[in-house]
């Protein structure tokens, strides 16, 4: 169940890097959000640009005390986030 202050952001399966960059920009503008929920449905692979963008999102969320949550992350992508040091900076559902 999403809280009223959760902002949902769908990660584009075809271009996760671009959409995560948008999420990064968006995260900086959300005044009321206490949680940013990234929906990875359909995302089967991420590239280095996506990981760097996600790292930026995590930095921004941490700076603004916004909880960062990801959902529908495949185990392959989860392993990438784990090895890149990002998995410990967000919650998964």
């Amino acid at each position: 169940m999403m809280s009223p202050n959760t902002t949902l952001f769908r990660v584009d399966a075809d271009d996760p890097a671009r959409s995560l960059a948008e999420a990064l920009a968006n995260a900086g503008q959300q005044e009321e959000s206490t949680e940013l929920l990234l929906d990875f449905t359909g995302v089967r692979r991420v590239d280095t640009a996506s990981v760097r963008a996600l790292s930026g999102v995590a930095d921004t969320a941490a700076a603004r005390s916004i909880k960062l949550t990801a959902r529908a992350v495949t185990v392959e992508v989860y392993k990438v986030l784990k090895l890149a040091g990002l998995a410990d900076r967000m919650a998964f559902m």
């Binding site: 692979r45 991420v46 590239d47 280095t48 640009a49 990981v51 760097r52 790292s55 392959e76 992508v77 392993k79 990438v80 986030l81 784990k82 090895l83 890149a84 040091g85």
Partner: protein, 878 residues
Amino acid sequence: MEKDPEKLTEERKALLDELVARARIAAAVFTQYTQDDVDRIVKPMVIAGLENAQTLARMAVEETRLGLLEDKAIKNMVATEFVFNYVKDKRTVGIIREYPEKNLAEVAEPIGVILSLLPITNPTSTALFKCIMAVKTRNCMIFSAHPRAARCSYEAARVMAETAVKHGAPEGFITWIDEPTLADTAYLMRHPDVRMIDATGGPAMVTAAYSSGKPALGVGAGNTPVYIERSADIEMAVVDIITSKTFDNGTICASEQTVVIDDEIYDMVIERFAALGCHICNEGEVALLSRTVIDPATGMMHPRAVGQRAVDIAKVVGMPVAPHTKLLIAPIRGVGRDHPLSAEKLFPVLSVIRARSTQEALRLCTDVIHNGGTGHTAVVFSDDDEVINTFGETINAGRIIVNSPGSIGALGGVYNDMVPTFSFGCGTGGGNSTIDNVNIYHYLNIKRMARRTQAHMWFRVPNQIYFNKNAVENLREFPSSATVIVSNPSLEKLGLVEIVRRHLPPGTHVHVLTIPDREPDRATVVAGAQTLAAFKADQIVALGGGSVIDAAKIMKLLYESPEADLDELSAPFLDLRKRVVEYPSAEARANRARLIAISTTSGTGTEVTPFAVMLDDGGTRKITLADYSLAPDIAIVDPQFVMGLPPGITADTGIDCLVHALEAGVSIFASPYTDALALQAVRLVFRYLPVAFEHPDNEEARAQMHNAACIAGIAFSNASVGVNHALAHAFGARFGVAHGRANALMLPHVIAYNAAVPTKFMPSPNSRAYVAHKKYAVTADLLGLGGDGVDGKVRVLIAAVEDLLDRLKIPRSIAALGISEEAFRAAMPDLVKAAFDDPSWRSNPRMPLLSELEELFWSAWRGRGEEKTADANAEAKG
């Protein structure tokens, strides 16, 4: 140059951190790539490397001032084409190898970020090679080039990286340190996100890599000895050595350094070197080279000579030689610090030394390789396989190159089928973690996925079993010229021996060997074997209970294999199929005799089992021998031999039979084959043992109990017994209690123990769950005992066993035998030790702790009728 990473500026550290961070992300992303993905990337990289081979070679020569352009171009092509040829069909992603027959699979896991050092001697070829390794294994590499070879090294890396990324590799998977310093490299070596150091470089860098605390693939220096043995093809040897030693002006660390030549061919070899354009130095020139191309302070080669042409070296040191001289050949008289030219020389100066014998040549080659090149490369030219093999066994080198050039041979793939590489492991002798030609498998964590296997099971029965009354008549079927009947005085007195003698084929020469009416000891079986030998027996008829038949089995063993060592053969083992000792094979036996077992009790089943028990150490220790070669060839189960059994022995042996069946039923080696027999034996015992006990003349009861004993014997021959026997052996030996009675005293307690949730499960690949309690419940059902649920059925089975024991008038406790608590307590440490040493429990479903063995002994001492630990089982199951 600054070496201390602590003195790097914060700005420089941040730059290096960013380099690693980018590589870490690329490495993470790389884990998603499939085998097809990486193979699609590798091929265009290889083509790009081939297309740039000459350009990169030119850059390398211009920047480093080492080696030859032509040879460096060839090296670049080997580093791409030959390496690709090796790796192209190799799996490096996911499951890379499978061993279905072993249920094993190997799964590749990338390493991640690798700090990779590049040498000055082979800068571009090594970079090309490592880039291919990186992509093929989904790793990321941060290159640190030799400062005097950075431009060409990084150009090679750039060509490969750009091509790879263009074809889908993650951005940043290959990076490098611009204008590298030793401090940069030292900082990265200690960086937490660098997973491994791949140090192809000088000894200082390799040492630094290994000292960093990180896993490292450090490779070592060489000092390649070459042995030209008298049978060698001299022309081929000389041409190969010149080809190899002049290749890239001798910069490959596997190139030849000192040639040891057999005295008989020495002059011919030197003559051929001279004829093919090499300069043979005189004593003065050798001395001159010794103090110029080798640094007198360190005893190592002078860096300015590395990779230079022979004529240029000669010119610098002031030594006149012919134009186009290929090599400077320096005859030396020994190896070591006093002979400077015996050290490694990565330039076209080659030492030669005369050997008066093969032994001396091998000693000299050993001295050369241990003079700075341990574990690296050695070369032998010979037509004598024995010499070649001796060389290979003697010289500690990862690459023993036979009848071919050292440097190009060691690279692999050109003159031989070794794995192509540009990184030579030198093993522990060279201070390295590997002695291999470094290749894709060194850049992977290879995980082993081991699926559960089932141990092969067996079911063996004696060749022939004759049963029912007068089955002894079948003895006539077995011709023999010399038969020894082993029995005891009681049975002889009862006339049973005479019955056997009467049924042997006419004309059989018969000798009766009577042994004491107790469990056999060493003296008895040794004397028995001597009797068999003296009599030249071709048949042994063992007539008796367990003691006689076991004695006959051991006598036969010693008769057939006089060298057999009973102490060794009774050594402990965990798994019969993997035990250390081996019983004499059928082929190795000095004599052969058929063993026919006729049991005169209904319990041990020894007429069909591969076990034999004897007393040792003055009767205080039972030792158990177990091997299928001990099993009798023929069993005769004739109830006429048990009709006169006294009730006490009927009871004790009958319970022994019941214990065999119950233990075989719950053993970890139980199988559907043995289960059927075990259950049938239990059924027969419950039905006929009380009758045989109370009505000794009842022929049917006697016959069925005799069958039950044999059937249970077959069951436990294949499934083995359990902790009940371990306890009974220890207790029986210590207190002189008959085996069957000792078993009976333990039985109710052991059933309760096995039916409880184990403190420790017994490792058993064939069991998918703990089923002992359920199998007891099945037994209770077969006997029609009732009971609710598994625990209830176990309880009624225990109660039924206790009722049976009461009906057979078996004492209720060890205490009831007159053994005081004090005496029992005093014996306890020995009892527990003996029980734990006994192999019987190895097949028990529950692994007994020493404390549990002690508790079981005390339970038996207190006696049956008390609440059993099965209730604890029920509690544990909650």
